[in-house]
Every structure is written in structure tokens, then in C-alpha cells.
């Protein structure tokens, strides 16, 4: 299957690994990712106010590009996924936004929320299938105890995101099992990392990160994985009392598929 792919700003800069390992792994699994042309930054945070319109236009442009190609729109960054999926939901349900955004964009045909937004993990679960992924694994990460960190943006609000059970998710744990490792369940896996508060109030972010890493370590984790560049930053750069190695889930996928050392690195 071929997807339209929306990488987002951070995957082109500070989170190149999340992108590159994701692309190479998808290719190895027979999934084509076609980066949409001229995509714009999604805005990183979903505009919650009911009168915000301009701040949703870049997401609508990306959605319309996928619609034009008749493809699902695949995301990898948690924040991009959150913003684009919720804006798409707004375009499906909010007639006022639909009218004003289309009046402004003047697309060939109005965009009415037709595209489907799929996160990379959902693609692995629903398109590839975790059973098939397990069979494709050449280098199982046996015995590694991995804490899946969901954070906020993939899960909430669950009515719109419909990603997994918001309080007891399992998709990343199922991924961890599929690549041969052992998932560790801990209480803080769906609590906030501190997000952009790291800019203005570093101690507040450090407090959040310490609580998350302590919870993961107490449960026996040796490694914590994420799909979000801002979670990665906080868990890595703002860890003080408790420290755990942090990786993007795509890097482990890439290793498990035995792709390391290939692709002319």
C-alpha cells in the first residue's frame, strides 16, 4: 500500500532519526511512503478555540493533498498526528470552519474532511499487522525490558483520536512484543512530559520527567521509547534524578528488521 506521508518540521531537523528509521523500515515492510509536496508546518499545537481558522489551514492543505492522490495521510510525529487528525475531524463536523476555510483556500474542489489520517503505529497494527511484523523481524530484541511512553497527544481526546484506550493503551506494548522485546507497564506512561513548558520553566518539566522515569524504572524498564520529538527531548535533556536511555520506536523497528549496516550507511 502507498500512503501520503507528512513528516513535519522537526523530523527534518532535530528528529531526523525518527523519520529516517521510519522510512527505511516501511520500505522493508513493503509500505510505500510518498512525502506530500510543499507541506507546511502543522502548527505543533491544536488550536482549541472555536473561532480559530487560519491556524488550521496548513493541516487542511496537507489533508487535501492526500485526498488529491487518493491516499491515506500517514504521520509519524505525535504532535503532527494530533493536529492533523483533529483538524480533519473539525472539517467533517464543523460547517462554519468548513465554509470559511474553503472560502479562503479556493481549492479546485472544496475539502470536506475526506482524507483519512493514520499514524505509523496504526499502519503497523492495521496494515502490516503485528503478527506479520513478528515474522519479518530478523534481529529480535530478546530480553530487553522496554517502557512504552505514550504521552498525551496520541491518545487524547480519545473521542477524536480513537488511537487506543486512553487510560490502558496497548498498541506500543504490542509493537514491543512483536519486535521480540518485553513491554513494561507503568502508571505514568500516558501522563504529560512537560511539553513546551521546558522553554519557560525547566524545573517544572524536570519534575514531570522524573516522575515518568521513576515510574518506568520502578517497573523494571531498561529503555523508554516514544513517537514524539518533544517527549524525546524532555525525557532525555530534562532527566535529573532518574535516567533511562530514550529512543524513537522507529529506531528499534529498524534494528529488529535487521536493517542496520545496510542502505549504504
Amino acid at each position: 500500500m502507498t500512503y501520503s506521508y507528512y513528516p513535519g518540521c522537526t523530523l527534518k531537523t532535530k528528529a531526523k532519526g525518527l523519520d529516517r528509521f521510519g522510512r527505511l523500515s516501511a520500505e522493508a515492510l513493503g509500505v510505500q511512503l510518498e512525502e506530500i509536496e510543499n507541506w507546511q508546518c502543522c502548527g505543533a499545537v491544536y488550536p482549541q478555540a472555536s473561532d480559530e481558522i487560519a491556524t488550521k489551514l496548513s493541516a487542511i492543505r496537507a489533508l487535501d493533498a492526500a485526498k488529491g492522490k487518493g491516499q491515506k495521510l500517514l504521520t509519524l510525529c505525535s504532535a503532527c498526528h494530533h493536529v492533523i487528525k483533529r483538524v480533519n475531524h473539525d472539517m467533517q463536523t464543523d460547517a462554519n470552519l468548513r465554509q470559511k476555510a474553503n472560502n479562503y483556500l479556493q481549492l479546485e474542489t472544496p475539502y470536506l474532511g475526506e482524507a483519512e489520517v493514520v499514524h505509523y503505529l496504526e499502519m503497523l497494527r492495521d496494515e502490516v499487522g503485528f503478527d506479520n511484523l513478528r515474522k519479518a523481524v530478523k534481529n529480535p530484541l530478546k530480553g530487553v525490558k522496554i517502557a512504552a511512553y505514550y504521552g498525551c497527544l496520541l491518545l487524547r481526546p480519545s473521542g477524536v483520536m480513537a488511537f487506543d484506550d486512553p487510560e490502558c493503551p496497548r498498541i506500543i506494548e504490542d509493537f514491543v512484543t512483536a519486535i521480540g522485546a518485553t513491554p513494561v507497564i507503568y502508571s505514568q506512561r500516558n501522563e504529560c512530559c512537560g511539553g513546551y513548558m521546558a522553554l519557560e520553566d525547566k524545573p517544572a518539566a524536570q519534575k514531570r520527567v522524573d516522575a515518568i522515569l521513576k515510574s518506568a524504572k520502578d517497573a523494571g524498564a531498561e529503555l523508554i521509547i516514544t513517537a514524539c520529538p518533544l517527549c524525546m527531548y524532555n525525557l532525555d535533556a530534562n532527566a535529573t534524578a532518574n535516567v533511562l536511555p530514550v529512543k524513537y520506536f522507529t529506531e528499534l523497528l529498524y534494528q529488529a528488521l535487521g536493517l542496520e549496516g545496510k542502505e549504504g550507511e
Binding site: A49, L153, L199
Partner: protein
């Protein structure tokens, strides 16, 4: 602050109905920024309803919400306190000269690993 923002303005911007609140306190109980706030999520709900908008607009609490959607997800009455906090913040930063942070403040806050996502988020949250 002479903006004279009313309860009706905040309800219109947020789309929230604070009268649905049954005051269980779950929003504040689950808020990861609770300790950082002068006014907590449940207080936003009743203070907006009572028209105490100026107090909220003058409080740094409006910049402490992490937009993690925990209060919104876990509210048994679907009140969505985070949307009220966002609406009060917007009522402030949409005024001339009321940005909380601008791009000029960013260089001093940068480090090698800081992702673009954090900067874009801050600019969306703190300035117009």
C-alpha cells in the same frame, strides 16, 4: 487591563458550558501542572461562570497549562476545562502588545537538542 472581557466572550471563544460542571475536582486532581498554577483547572470553570475573568487574565496560570488534555479526557461531564484556559489566554494575547513571549526571546532559551516543535508550540501558545 482594560479589555473588559466578559463570561460570554470566554464561553463563545471556548465553546464550553461551565454549568455542566458538578464540581468533582477531577480536572485539578489529574492536572500535571497543578503545582505550577495559582488558579487550578476547576477554579477556571467556576471563576469564568462567575465573571471573574480579569483575575484569570492577570494570572500566570494561563501560561502554565500544558495542553495535555488530561482534564478534558477525564472530566465525567465533558466540561473541557483546558478550552477555558486557552480562551482566557487568547483573550489576553489577542490584544495589542500583550504577547507573553516572542521570537526575540527564543535565542536565549535554545539548547542543542531543543526540537523545533517546542518553539512552534510556544509561539502558537504565547503570541499572536
Amino acid at each position: 487591563m482594560a479589555a473588559n472581557v466578559t463570561t460570554e466572550d470566554i464561553l463563545r471563544i471556548s465553546g464550553v458550558n461551565p454549568r455542566k460542571c458538578m464540581k468533582c475536582g477531577k480536572c485539578s486532581g489529574t492536572c500535571p501542572a497543578y503545582d505550577e498554577m495559582e488558579y487550578h483547572p476547576h477554579q477556571f470553570v467556576y471563576m469564568v461562570e462567575r465573571g471573574q475573568i480579569d483575575k484569570l487574565m492577570q494570572s500566570k496560570s494561563i501560561y502554565r497549562c500544558l495542553t495535555c488534555f488530561a482534564c478534558l479526557e477525564r472530566c465525567p461531564r465533558n466540561v473541557e476545562p483546558a478550552k477555558l484556559i486557552e480562551a482566557v489566554r487568547l483573550a489576553v494575547i489577542r490584544q495589542q502588545g500583550m504577547n507573553h513571549m516572542t521570537e526575540n526571546d527564543i535565542p536565549a532559551l535554545l539548547d542543542d537538542k531543543l526540537p523545533q516543535q517546542a518553539i512552534v508550540s510556544a509561539m502558537r501558545k504565547y503570541k499572536k
